[in-house]
């Protein structure tokens, strides 16, 4: 018991804090902030971290301030928020489904968003490839696509209730279906849209703006808070339906709400980051190896690691191949896909 510190205040709240998990979380938080500051300075114009900090505090020179505030900062913030949302969505899903391979991309939620985006680009383009409506509607289309797949997933998996196994099976079906639908729509659509659609599908925060931040930041904050409130609920899901019911958890209701939150997070992330894949798989996994399965520590740590992953992927794509810009999704897949294969390989003997 000496690893834990109770934290109480006069009967209004009480928590048991695992000191080691808390330290690890703080380390990664600092790591995230540090990475963000360094990365803001990278690009065609190099700005030293010290100058970046100066700009952030409002004391920078006009040139640096312009670059940071107008071009880089919104993109960095969106990248971090996308990483946070995807990581938490993945962590929640892995808890509900009780399978470490579960993530929003693998059960087709991201695929649904992708299909919706390509449909949007097809429907609202002229033959010459220009959009007839504002591109600002694209995030909403992505979000809607994610929600529709989620609803279908829930409906098809329902049989007196929703079980983790059925969710995964139906999810894989949805993944395959949305992939096919996206490819079909891509082929049927105007050729000029294809490269734009492809970049979106791979996943990129290229089009980040302060408008986007104004939408995504409060959404992420609210959903993060909601997830924290639901932590006890997620923790008990991992023990299986029988034990959860025995201690008084309403299992079906919990699953519904957790899936809802996971979808909202994924939908928001893909709306602004495109079809970035594997973050929802990688981040909670790495976090689990560091702090174990307790979601009180797992959720924040997954969020920090997810943010770092997307940040670094975006930065590599933005900086290393200048003057070309490679979408962040290329690098998350480059790390994520081999890791996923490795996981499947490790699980081959497990029941």
């Amino acid at each position: 018991m000496n690893k834990y510190t109770p934290f109480r205040m006069r009967n209004s709240f009480s928590f048991l804090i695992d000191r080691k998990s808390l330290s690890i979380n703080m380390v990664f938080f600092v790591l995230l902030l540090g990475s963000a500051i360094v990365v803001i300075g990278l690009g065609e114009q190099f700005i030293s971290p010290l100058k970046v900090v100066a700009v952030l505090f409002g004391n920078g020179d006009p040139f640096s301030t312009l670059i940071v505030n107008s071009f880089r900062l919104p993109r960095i913030i969106i990248a971090m928020l996308v990483g946070i949302c995807l990581a938490i969505a993945g962590a929640i899903l892995q808890g509900v489904v009780k399978n470490p391979i579960a993530s929003p991309d693998i059960i087709g939620i991201t695929g649904g968003a992708a299909a919706a985006v390509v449909l949007f680009l097809n429907l609202f383009s002229t033959d010459s490839g220009t959009l007839t409506v504002s591109i600002d509607w694209l995030p909403l289309a992505a979000f809607t696509g994610a929600c529709i797949v989620s609803i279908l997933l829930y409906l098809f998996a329902w049989q007196g209730g929703v079980s983790p196994v059925r969710m995964v099976l139906v999810g894989i079906g949805m993944w395959a279906f949305t992939k096919a639908a996206t490819t079909l729509l891509l082929i049927m659509g105007p050729i000029h849209q294809q490269s734009q659609a492809n970049i979106w599908i791979t996943g990129s925060v290229y089009g980040a703006s302060w408008e986007g931040v104004r939408i995504l930041f409060p959404i992420t904050l609210i959903l993060f808070f909601v997830t924290i409130v639901m932590i006890r609920m997620i923790n008990i899901q991992e023990f299986g339906e029988d034990v959860a019911t025995s201690v008084g958890n309403r299992v079906q209701l919990s699953r519904f709400f957790l899936l809802l939150v996971s979808t909202a997070l994924t939908g928001s992330a893909v709306a602004f980051g495109g079809g970035i894949s594997f973050v929802g798989l990688l981040a909670p996994h790495i976090a689990r190896r560091l702090v174990g399965s307790s979601f009180g520590a797992l959720i924040p740590l997954s969020a920090f690691i997810g943010a770092i992953l997307v940040l670094i992927s975006d930065t590599i794509g933005r900086v290393v191949f200048l003057p070309l810009e490679i979408p962040a999704g290329v690098f998350t897949a480059a790390v994520g896909a081999p890791y996923f294969i490795f996981l499947l390989y490790k699980q081959r003997n497990v029941g």
Binding site: M1, S14, R232, E238, F239, S246, G248, G292
Partner: protein, 276 residues
């Protein structure tokens, strides 16, 4: 006094009926054991009494009220079940496991009150797991792991504890360890314990009250020494046996007929041949 009862309880899946209009009373403060052949429905019955399964007809009554009418969180404060072969997530420590037993008493703001802490400490002490509190559950032996799960059930602080085959897959030493623990809990804290056990002899030794299930109904119920006989074993388990008295405990001891190296005197050998 009864802790729980069932009224015309019918359980099944789809068209299949597993338990048919079963009426049963669970005596308060005693150890009750369900016995019966494989697939007779004793686990199903236990699970329905813990609201893990909805009745097709009839009801389970807890403290005078129909269980289906009580909020699940309130039920959780009165009744806990340890299912068969429970699985804990990877990397969990014993303390993290036992803590979960306090779920019905907590909310998102209050996750570790002083009472929670006390109850968990007591549960760990009662099961002799205090020293192992920081160990990972996956690193424990079978007996230790089962004790950890029982500690979690104890932390839930319920008057009634249901256990579905708590000793299956354990070796003899650990079987006795677990059953001794449960017997102590019943003696010291007067908790009502209901178990499904496979071993008839252990059931006779530890149970105050035995319920024999056959043909979707209760075949017999009562004190082991009153109801366990050759006839009962023949009807419930379809096995012929000899029922003697356990030399250590005095409770019924069932010795099955059948094959095996018979090395007793010739006289007894002939007796076996007659009946077998």
């Amino acid at each position: 006094m009864k802790a729980m009862e069932t009224k015309d309880l019918t359980l099944g899946y789809g068209e299949t009926v597993i338990i048919d209009e079963l009426n049963l009373e669970i005596p308060k403060g005693e150890i009750t054991v369900f016995i019966g052949g494989n697939g007779c429905g004793k686990s199903t019955l236990l699970r329905s009494m813990a609201r893990l399964l909805k009745p097709q007809q009839g009801s389970v009554v807890l403290e005078g009220e129909m269980m289906s009418k009580i909020a699940t969180k309130e039920v959780a404060k009165k009744l806990a079940i340890l299912p068969q072969g429970p699985v804990a997530p990877e990397g969990l420590t014993v303390l993290q496991l036992v803590k979960q037993g306090r779920y019905p008493y907590q909310n998102w703001l209050k996750q570790w009150s002083e009472e929670d802490e006390r109850k968990v400490q007591n549960a760990l002490e009662s099961t002799g797991m205090s020293a192992l509190a920081d160990r990972h559950v996956d690193s424990l032996s079978g007996g230790q792991r089962q004790r950890a799960w029982i500690a979690m059930t104890l932390a839930q602080d319920t008057e009634i504890i249901l256990l579905d085959e708590p000793t299956t897959y354990l070796d003899m030493t650990h079987q006795i360890e677990i059953l001794d623990l449960l017997f102590d809990l019943n003696e010291k804290e007067q908790r009502t314990i209901v178990m499904v056990l496979h071993d008839l002899n252990l059931a006779c030794r530890y149970a105050h009250h035995i319920v024999a299930i056959r043909d979707k109904k209760v075949y017999a119920q009562g004190r082991p020494e009153d109801i366990v006989s050759c006839e009962l074993v023949k009807n419930v388990f379809e096995m012929s046996c000899q029922v003697t008295v356990d030399p250590l405990f005095g409770t019924p001891l069932c010795i099955p007929h059948g094959k095996g190296r018979c090395i007793v005197q010739q006289v007894t050998k002939n007796q076996n041949a007659d009946v077998g």
